[in-house]
Every structure is written in C-alpha cells, then in structure tokens.
C-alpha cells in the first residue's frame, strides 16, 4: 500500500547517491530546478528526466518507493496533461471533445466561448509535465536518500538559522503523530454519525470539526514541548555547537561544481537566447549560443 510513510521516509543505504553530502544534494536539486525551468527542447527535457531517473537506479531504490514514484509521476503528468488539454492556447489545435459548448447557457459565456479538450494540449501537457516530473523526481530522490536530520544539518550548513531548522525538524517529527490524530478525529466523527463526505454547506463544519481537536491538541502540546526545549537551554546562547559535522568530500565538490556550472551556463544561454528572440538584445558574436540554445535547450 502506498501511504504517507512510503512518501515520507528515507531508505538508508550505502550508495553513491546516499553518500553525497546533503548540502551537495540541495545544491544539485536547486541547480536542476533552474535547468528544468530553463529548458524548452523536448529531447533535452526528456534526457534530463532520464538522468534524474537513473539516480533512483544508482540509489537502489526499493520497489515500494518506485511504485510511489510512479504513482506520483502519473498523477502529476496526468494533471498537467488534463489542464493543458483544456487550456491549450496555441495553434494548431484540434478539438477532440467538447466539455462546454459555446452556446451553453451561462457557462458558455463564462468560459469565454466554451471549453474543449484539445489534442495538441494533451501533447503539450505531457511535454511540460516532464519539467515538473524531473523536479519532483529529484526532490523525492533527495528525500529518500537523505536522513531528515542530515538534511537539516545540510540546511543549517547552508546558513538556514537553527531556530528555523528546529521548527522544521519539530514539524517533521510530529507529522506521523498528527496524521494519526487527524485520522482518529475523522473516525471519531464518523462513529458519531457524521458523514464528512457530505458536500455543500456542511463542508466548513467538517473542516472545523477536524481542525479544532487536532489544533487544540497541538496548542496543548506546545506548552510542554516549549518548556522541555527551554529547559535544555534552547536559545540560551548566541551560538551553539553541533555533534554532527558535515564533510564536503572531493566527489561532492566535483559534482556540485559541475551541476552548478552547467546550470548557470544553461540559464545564461537561455536568457541570452530569450533576449534575442524577444528582440531585446542581439549581437552577432553570440550566434553560436543562439544556435545551441535554439537547437538543444
């Protein structure tokens, strides 16, 4: 069964991917995000996606995680396909299905002339879905191969203040507890005859019914946790030391350098190309860049 646990929990192994420093992973992710956002070329986008997927192979990801990944990717790409099939606004476009015909009362007017499913939109959605799919996959790979506290240390190493890191780790720690509590709250109400599926005016009541006990419990818990944390000298000092010290290995340095360099290059090339295509800036000296960006990026 694919549940919150299979989404959230990392699998700790000793692979190339696992051994990467969390800071390196975060920087690689950020670099990849920039690349993914910059790319337009279908083949290159697909290549990027394949490269990201190969990370899962290198990390020897267990089957349940792969299943989860596939499910999430299918949902994501399907979502993009579906929305783009409706809103595709490029030509040519071929209507394959009419959802709201232009002369349908009110809705026809509201939707500015009907709503259709366009064949080309499906294709566009699938291509653009690759972009978010690459980002999602790499994010998951990072999470699944990094212990959350290492990630936290990584963030602190990247100058995220400890107080913030503390909040995040607290949030992570309480996540399974709160998920269980939310499930319990829903069950309690169902056993008392309440049907949360009921749509309409009751929906706000339902949301409040779920939130009230859950948050009230959190508020109550807050007092104890805060006192417990304070009694352990939290924020008593300007600085703090750390038991775990992250080490940036040579491989980390090389990988990060390559990724960051590649990302910066791609982003700059793409920017230059976009300035050229928008008629903002052109110089003949940059022609090779225009050619590369136009052809491959």
């Amino acid at each position: 069964m694919i549940g919150a646990r299979s989404i959230a929990e990392p699998t700790i192994k000793d692979t190339v991917i696992h051994r990467l420093d969390p800071r390196a992973k975060i920087l690689i992710l950020i670099s990849t995000v920039f690349v993914a956002v910059s790319l337009d070329n279908q083949k290159t986008m697909f290549l990027l996606f394949l490269i990201v997927l190969s990370g899962f192979v290198l990390a020897r990801t267990p089957a349940i995680k792969i299943k989860t990944l596939v499910l999430l990717l299918v949902l994501l790409i399907w979502g993009t396909i579906y929305s783009q099939a409706l809103f595709y606004s490029q030509l040519p476009r071929t209507v394959i299905f009419t959802i709201i015909s232009p002369d349908f009362p009110v809705l026809g007017w509201l939707t500015g002339g009907g709503l259709f499913v366009y064949e080309e939109g499906l294709h566009h959605g699938a291509i653009q879905g690759l972009r978010s799919a690459s980002i999602l996959s790499l994010g998951l790979l990072m999470c699944w191969t990094t212990d959350s506290r290492d990630m936290l240390n990584g963030l602190v190493g990247l100058r995220v203040p400890y107080s913030v890191a503390f909040m995040v780790i607290t949030a992570v720690r309480f996540l399974p507890i709160i998920i269980t509590e939310v499930a319990t709250v829903i069950t309690v109400q169902r056993l008392r005859g309440f049907n949360p599926k009921k749509f309409g005016s009751g929906i706000i009541r339902t949301l409040l019914n779920i939130l009230t006990p859950t948050i009230a419990n959190c508020v109550r818990r807050t007092g104890t946790l805060a006192v417990s944390i304070q009694s352990r000298a939290f924020r008593a000092n300007l600085d703090r030391t750390s038991l775990k010290k992250l080490k940036f290995s040579d491989i980390d340095k090389i990988v990060v350098a390559v990724c960051v360099f590649a990302a910066i290059s791609i982003v700059i090339m793409k920017l230059i190309y976009n300035m050229y295509t928008s008629g903002i800036y052109y110089t003949s000296g940059l022609r090779p860049i225009y050619a590369i960006a136009g052809g491959y990026l």
Binding site: D147, S148, R149, F166, I169, T170, V172, R173, P176, I177, E181, T184, V185, T187, V188, Q189, R190, L191, R192, G193, F194, N195, L208, N209, I210, T212, P213, T214, A216, N217, R220, R221, T224, L225, A226, V227, S228, I229, Q230, S231, R232, A233, F234, R235, A236, N237, D239, R240, T241, S242, L243, K244, K245
Partner: protein, 594 residues
C-alpha cells in the same frame, strides 16, 4: 538515601499567579530538598505541583510571565536572578507525555540537543550523549528513530536528554502516568539508578503514590497551592486521613496493615508479609519463601482502591459472567490476522466471542495488539485474514459510519473527540447526526451521568483533563450505543474520573470492551479479562482466574496486585484488601477459638 551533602533546592514563601488569573496557583510554598534526596511530590489534580516544578529552572517566571514572589534557590542560585543557561545546567525537567517532549527524529539528536545549546565541544557532546544513553540503558538505540520507540523508551530518552546536561536536579512531572507496565518499570528503574549511583536529586510529581512510595525518601503532599504534608516515606503512612481526604491511593500493604489494626506501614509485599508474620499469623500461615525485596524487583505493583469499589471484583466475578453467558453474541471473531505490513502482523489468529452485557478488559503491553483489536470492532480496520462480525455483520464490507449509533468509541486521547463549541453541543452532536427524536433528554442524561451539567456552556477543549474525558464519554453515551469501546481510558487520568466513567458503564449494564494497563481497574469493572501478548490472546477468563495465572501475566509484563500476591503467599483466596482482611480476621478468630 539522603547524603547530607548540602541543600540543593530551597524554596521560601513562593507565591505565583499565572497571567490572566486572579487566584494564585502557588500560595506560600516553603520547601528544602537536600542533595541526593528522592522526593515524591503528590497531591490532587490542580494543586499546583506541576507549577512548582517549573519554578525550579526559571521557566516560571522568566518565560511565562505572571506574578511571582518569594525565592527559589537551586544550588544556592536564585532562579529569578540567574540566566537561563546556568539554571538549565542544574535542573532537568521531564514531563508526563514523552511524545510531547521529543522534537527530534533521531535519538542521538534529541540527547545532544542540550549539550549543543550549552556549546560543548563536539567530542564532549559525543561523550555526554553516550554516557546519558548508557545511564538510561538506551545505548543500543542511539541512532534509532524516536518514533519507533515504545513509551518507556521514549521517556528514558527524555531523561537522557536531560542527563546529557549533567543536571544536579531532575524534576519530573508525572513521568510514568502514561506508561504501560513495562514502560513504568523501565522509567522507575532508571530514576532509581540515577538517584543511587549519580546521587542526582530527584523531585518527582506523581499521583500514583502507591506505586512510587517504596522508592522515595520523602513524600510531600500539596493541596490548593500549599504544602500540607511533608514526611519521610517511612513515616508518611502513619496517618492516612490526609491521603483519604485528598483522594490519594495508598499502597495496598499499608492499607492492609491499617485495616488489620497493625501499626506499621510496609510499602512492599515482603514488608507486609514480614509484619504479618511478626504480628499475627506466624503459626497459621507458615510462609516458607518470602517474596523478593521490592527494591530488587521493581515490577509494578498495583494496589487496591477505596472501599466503595472493593466489592466490584467480587460482584463482577460472581455475577457478571453468569448473567451474560446466555445473552446473544455481539462480536464474533474468527482467526483474525491484521497488520500494516505483510511480514509484521499485529494480530495473529484471534478467535473471540463477546456477548451482550459483558464487560471485557483487554490487557497487555503496548504493541501487544489491544488497540488494533479494538479498531477492528469498529470497522476502522479491516482484517488481513479471517472474519470479524459485529452485530452479525461482517466488518469487511462496512465502515465506521455503518456502525454509528451502535458502537461508541472513547479513544485514548479524549481530546481528539472534542470539536464542538460547547459541552452541550458536543453531547448533542451524535444524536443530531443520527436524527434521534429524544435529543434533549439524551443530552441532559449524559451530562448528568458524567456530572458535567454545570459545564454545559463551556468550551470543551478548554476544560481540565478529567472534564474533557467526561465530556468525551458524555458525547458517546448520548448516542446510547449497544457496544462501547474504550481505548486505555485510564491513561493519565486521575482516579475520580476513571471511577465515574466506569461506574456509569457498570450500572448501565453496557456491553463494554476496554483496553487498560491497570489491573485494578480491570479487576474492579471487568466481567472478563483478556490478556494479549504479541498479537495473541494468551489468557481469557474471569478476573480471578486470569489474575491467578501468573505465567500469562508475566508474559504480558503484568503483575498481580500486592494484595493478591500477599494472599497467595498466605495461602488464602482473596482479591482485594477487604476480602483479605475478612479472610485473615476470620482465620484469626478461628485460630483463637481453636
């Protein structure tokens, strides 16, 4: 136990009022605790004992605000004048629910948190973490996920996270009240070791006086913001009036001796047997093998309840089952297997038949499958294998909503059951949803039954812990379900609330299934006890039968109540102090006659 090395805590004329309140919570507290002392601070709910603990490391008033007067000195340092870091080093705080104290996902991080904040060097932190984990016996779990630990282990981690800062004082606020017997055992063992070996001064707040009394040097009782009693443990039970008056549970051996008119306050079974041997029954009983010293065997000893409920066990076992035996079957479980993962089944082949009118207590350690079994009965979980039939309907095709109105469920944390704007609304919610006709009557009856009618306009979430439990119960009984399921309703609750709830169910002849760690509650209210271990039912029968089955109890980390243990050693059949007293008295009379 007192080493006399100097005063560790000195509180003089301490008054404290929380912000926004007019009535002070602490009213002129004077207390002196010596280094290495183990002090039990007890008293009824709301007496101010937890507040007093928070003054020890300056959280009150530094963080909380409010009106503070008087003096609190720890190791000669005035807490109001000292900085947070200095005080933090000296006083460690441990609270009731370990889940509310642990913020890290990994044990090591949790324990290292304090030393890191105190800016120790990396090596020093590493050493302190190792030492602290070793002291609490959790070295093997250094890299474990905090979520994977049991309650007792978590609490030990909480203690370790304080110990890593090497405090002179460990102030603990009801650290065992939410523990199962194993957890309680683990925590108390740890605390005792700390006190003995490291000479750590312990100030422990707990209302389970009867369980703690054998371990402490001194008992301090608070009531209404004041210290009303302060005696060494050995002399504390010479006069029981104050304990009775404040509703505090007295160790069964003490109660037994006092009921027999013996002027002694033995805190353990062996002590009681020694006294009994010496005083009256030497010739008659002929104890051949005295039980081990409780200080060596720190297994939890549950004790007796006040006289009014003592007859329960007797009644339950004599009449309870007989009346329900012919009743219709409500629950029928056949070969139930259940679990979240295929290779980690929580329930392994459960077969069970429960009839209308039965009150079934399910006992066992955490993880034994009690709660999972209960969840199956409300169709919240579905069997992996086997059948669960509730009211003749297979739960596989049902959801909790299908049993709404028939099955009432009170969860371990009643707070999760309260979501309405007032107590009355909370009680009305179920009947309204189920479109019952006599709503007002149901609401009124259930509020009255739980004695919360005067609170009916109050916000449920803002009530006290006991009142919240009673509101949650009222919200269930207003539906008048045919089957009531209670998941560890006694956890963290004080006696009055537990009794009120259980008495209602008993008097109402409800079909009741409840999970509990409390042998005493099970004996008092259940017509039948199931003992579970590792997903299986290892004992099933009337209370008296099960309580005698020491092997099953041992497997489930349960122990007999001291009075049953004493009765066993004495070779008599008794399950409560009253029964034992009656038996022993009659035997003495017979002996005299002879």
């Amino acid at each position: 136990m007192v080493c006399g090395c100097g005063t560790m805590i000195e509180i003089k004329d301490l008054w404290y009022t929380y912000p926004g309140r007019s009535e002070p919570t602490l009213k002129g507290i004077n207390l002196r605790v010596e280094k290495g002392e183990f002090v039990l601070l007890t008293g009824p709910t709301g007496c101010g004992k937890s507040t007093l603990l928070k003054t020890l490391n300056g959280i009150i008033p530094h963080e909380s605000g409010g009106i503070f007067s008087g003096s609190v000195k720890v190791k000669g340092m005035e807490t109001t004048d000292s900085n947070h870091m200095e005080i933090s080093k000296e006083v460690g705080l441990v609270f009731q629910n370990p889940d509310d104290q642990i913020f890290s996902t990994i044990v090591e991080d949790e324990v290292a948190f304090g030393p890191e904040n105190l800016c120790f060097e990396q090596k020093e932190i590493d050493r302190k973490v190792e030492d602290a984990l070793q002291i609490v016996g959790m070295s093997d779990h250094r890299f474990a996920s905090t979520n994977s630990l049991s309650g007792g282990q978590k609490q030990r981690i909480c203690i370790a996270s304080m110990l890593a800062m090497v405090p002179e004082v460990l102030a603990m606020d009801e650290p065992i009240s939410q523990m199962d017997p194993v957890g309680t055992h683990e925590v108390l063992n740890t605390v005792r070791e700390l006190n003995r070996k490291l000479k750590t001064t312990i100030l422990l707040v707990e209302h389970r006086l009867h369980e703690l009394a054998p371990f402490v040097d001194r008992i301090v009782v608070m009531d209404d913001g004041k210290i009303v009693f302060d005696q060494p443990a050995s002399k504390a039970f010479d006069h029981l009036e104050i304990f009775y008056r404040l509703g505090l549970r007295i160790p069964e051996p003490v109660e037994l001796c006092h009921s027999l008119g013996i002027k002694a306050s033995p805190l353990s079974v062996s002590g009681a047997l020694a006294v009994l041997n010496r005083e009256y029954f030497k010739e008659n009983t002929g104890i051949s093998q005295p039980p081990p010293n409780p200080e060596e065997n720190t297994g939890v000893k549950t004790s007796s309840r006040k006289a009014s409920v003592e007859n329960n066990a007797f009644e339950n076992n004599i009449f309870g089952n007989n009346t329900s035996e012919n009743n219709a079957s409500i629950i029928s479980i056949q070969d139930l297997w259940s679990g979240y993962e295929k290779n980690k089944m929580v329930l392994k082949g459960i077969n069970l038949e429960i009839r209308k009118g039965e009150r079934v207590a399910i006992m066992g350690t955490n993880g034994s499958g009690k709660s999972t079994l209960l969840l199956h009965l409300a169709a919240i979980l579905k069997p992996y294998k086997g059948n669960v039939k509730v009211f003749g309907e297979d739960t596989r095709s049902k959801n909790p909503y299908s049993f709404a109105g028939k099955v009432g469920f009170v969860f371990q944390n009643p707070d999760l059951m309260l979501f309405c704007d007032s107590v009355e609304e909370e009680t009305r919610f179920g009947p309204v949803q189920l479109k019952y006709s006599d709503i007002e009557e149901r609401v009124r009856n259930s509020l009255e039954a739980m004695s919360i009618l005067p609170l009916r306009h109050d916000l449920p979430q803002a009530l006290s812990r006991g009142q919240r439990l009673r509101t949650a119960v009222a919200s269930v009984i207003s539906i008048n379900p045919e089957l009531i399921l209670l998941d560890e309703p006694t956890t963290g609750q004080d006696r009055v609330n537990i009794e009120q709830m259980m008495d209602f169910f008993k008097n109402n002849n409800s079909t009741l299934i409840f999970c509990t760690h409390d042998v005493e509650v099970a004996m008092s209210y259940a017509t039948r006890i199931l003992v579970m271990n590792d997903g299986q039912i290892i004992a099933d029968g009337k209370g008296k039968e099960v309580i005698k089955d020491t092997e099953s109890l041992r497997k489930a980390s349960l122990t007999q109540p001291p009075v049953v243990e004493i009765a066993n050693y004495l070779g008599v059949n008794a399950f409560s102090v009253k029964e034992l007293v009656k038996t022993l008295t009659s035997r003495t009379v017979e002996g005299i006659k002879c």
